[in-house]
Amino acid sequence: MSITARFWVSLVLSLPMLAEMIFHPFGWMLPGGEWTMLALTTVIMAVSAGPFLQSAWSSFKKHHSNMDTLVAIGTATAYFYSIYAMITHQAVFFESAAFVTTFVLLGQVFEERMRNNASSAVEKLVNLQAKEAEVLRDGQLVKVPLDEVVVGDLIRVKPGEKIAVDGIITDGQSSVDESMVTGESMPVEKKSGDRVIGSTINSNGTFTFRAEKIGRDTMLSQIVELVKKAQTSHAPIQKLTDKVSDIFVPVVLIIAILTFLVWYVFLGASVANALIFAVSVVVIACPCALGLATPTALMVGTGRSAKMGILIKNGEVLEAVNDVTTVVFDKTGTITMGKPEVTDVVGNHQQVLTVAASLESASEHPLAAAILVKATSDQLTVPAASDFKAIEGKGVQATVDGKQAFVGNDKLLIDYEIDASLKQQVQQLQDEAKTVVFVGFDHQVIGVIAIQDAPKPTSKEAIAALKSRGLKTVMLTGDNQRVARAIADQVGIDDVIADVLPGDKADHVKALQADGKVAFVGDGINDAPALTVADVGIAMGSGTDIAIESGGIVLVKNDLRDVDRALALSKKTFNRIKLNLFWAFVYNVLGIPVAAGVFFAIGLTLSPELAGLAMAFSSLSVVTSSVLLNKAKISTNVSSTTA
């Protein structure tokens, strides 16, 4: 039977006893009295608490004890004592056994729900792989399954196909979408002699390449391996609780027996009274509040953050956030839009853009897309071009409005002259790390269009907020130093690490970890290892599934300012967990001597019912404290959006 089902059984059967407890002072009695309680509790013990007993017993046989041991002994003692008490006509406390079971199962239901979100990132990565490849064998092109490809095979890739393995192009050219591996949104031009990465997508041309790395050696496999290792290497924080519970359980049992002996043998109490003290000890020591302290605060904290579009994956992340000293950002798609945009038009704005748009209207190139978007937003009427002709390696030419027109890169300048002032403007734009496109009409250059992947408008504010928290900000990028520095200065980032190879991001994060805990913010597949290696991985919601699964925190709204909000919320939640644990410990540690009758002389004792009530109350106070987290003020330095 599932934990959830066991929880519902024990909750429903506990409710009549809860009613009895609440309404008893007002003269209401549970029909059937103790016999009904016995029946209800017997079902709970058999169905809901049974597995605890079973697990406690098999642990016991192996000299181990755990939470289940305490729960089993606590509930079983309460249950069997109550039967004894029924026979001897003393007060029973069946409800303690029932409530303890219900509370513990509630905690486990929460826990199970959180753990079920365990990521399947690795499987998703593996699914990116091509299934087959068109390989040249005995002079014939044949389709073979991926695992039959060997190093040295010549493989042909047609437009739209996935590249099977890593290799070097021997013939042909094309542009390749490598965004799934590198996170780079711009397709990369590849020609003979260039390297291609397995699992990336060929866009427009056909080419042949020689397989260089296959199977476990491919870049994708390496990333898969990294993510796997990083995922399982998390040292779970439960180690401490485990240490405590390993000693806690036997120690509590010993204290309970000592309590009985002292009262019965040395102080001359009756068997029943001595047993009551011993049972009180076991009941109040039940680590219910301890068990609830973390999951309830997590539930509320993560629920509240989810409403704000911030998904926090687990408690370890919350804990790690507390000590973060450095925030590292990926550039493309994280700090910048990840979409190239037209930033400048030199020359007659309307004419330059119109001619360029008309030439690029049929193109799939991302720079063309940027130009078309600009033309549309400027509401230009773009005339249709005809007689398209590619100028090899330089651009494209066609007839627009009956005249020859062209767009292309700076290699066109071999054929066309431009004046000195335009030349200077072009150089300045390039210094600002912008890609420049030349536009020509009627056999002469009429202007240039500059295209850039601009920073998001919110990036600057987001970084400023983090800096005011005293955090160091760092940007990691594969771009060259000049482009990177230009962007970093625009948004106010402290340090830049440029020219980083996709596979090296995780290593850079590791290096930064030498100085303190690091949070990494990114969105591409190549960010996945860095996201897992970092103490706190923060994935942008617009990013790839893999990045989202590898991150400990996901920002659904894709708003960089949420990084600050996520940090603030995590800290608040974690502090609440600590507060809860403190109170739960206090209850247990102070409760045990009181239950054992140490303060009997001054009239302070706990009957098993009171111990049960105190236990329930400690759980309740912990849950209340968690629920209040919903109302707690979150201090951030960024302008608030609707929560």
């Binding site: 642990s59 181990h64 995922q231 399982t232 040292a235 779970p236 390993d246 036997p250 027996i257």
Partner: protein, 123 residues
Amino acid sequence: MIKLIVLIAGLAIIGFIGWWFFGKHEVAAQTAEVTDNVQEVDVDVNGGYSPEQVVLKQGVPAVLNFTRHDPSSCLDRVVFPDFGINRALPKGQLEAIKIDTSKAGEYQWACGMDMFHGKLIIK
């Protein structure tokens, strides 16, 4: 007289608890048998792992067959941090886990919460 017997019995139970939980106990160890160039060990998951220590031969492909009989959610995953393995163990279902035996050494495995441990020795 009864009190004396109860006292002795109580102290005996305390002594037993101390010895049972804190004393040194031999852990069940098992060396894998090699058949058809594959070594297999069945690991029963019930209140811990039995055997808790598995000895494998280096260089021979190895499979550990985990079967969970314990209802506790504590044991519903098994993690080999050194091999990047984190596998769910559905109750009562055999989960075969392949181990790379190319490097000799001692490796730990644990449940998902790191509460129960087992040791893998490759030599």
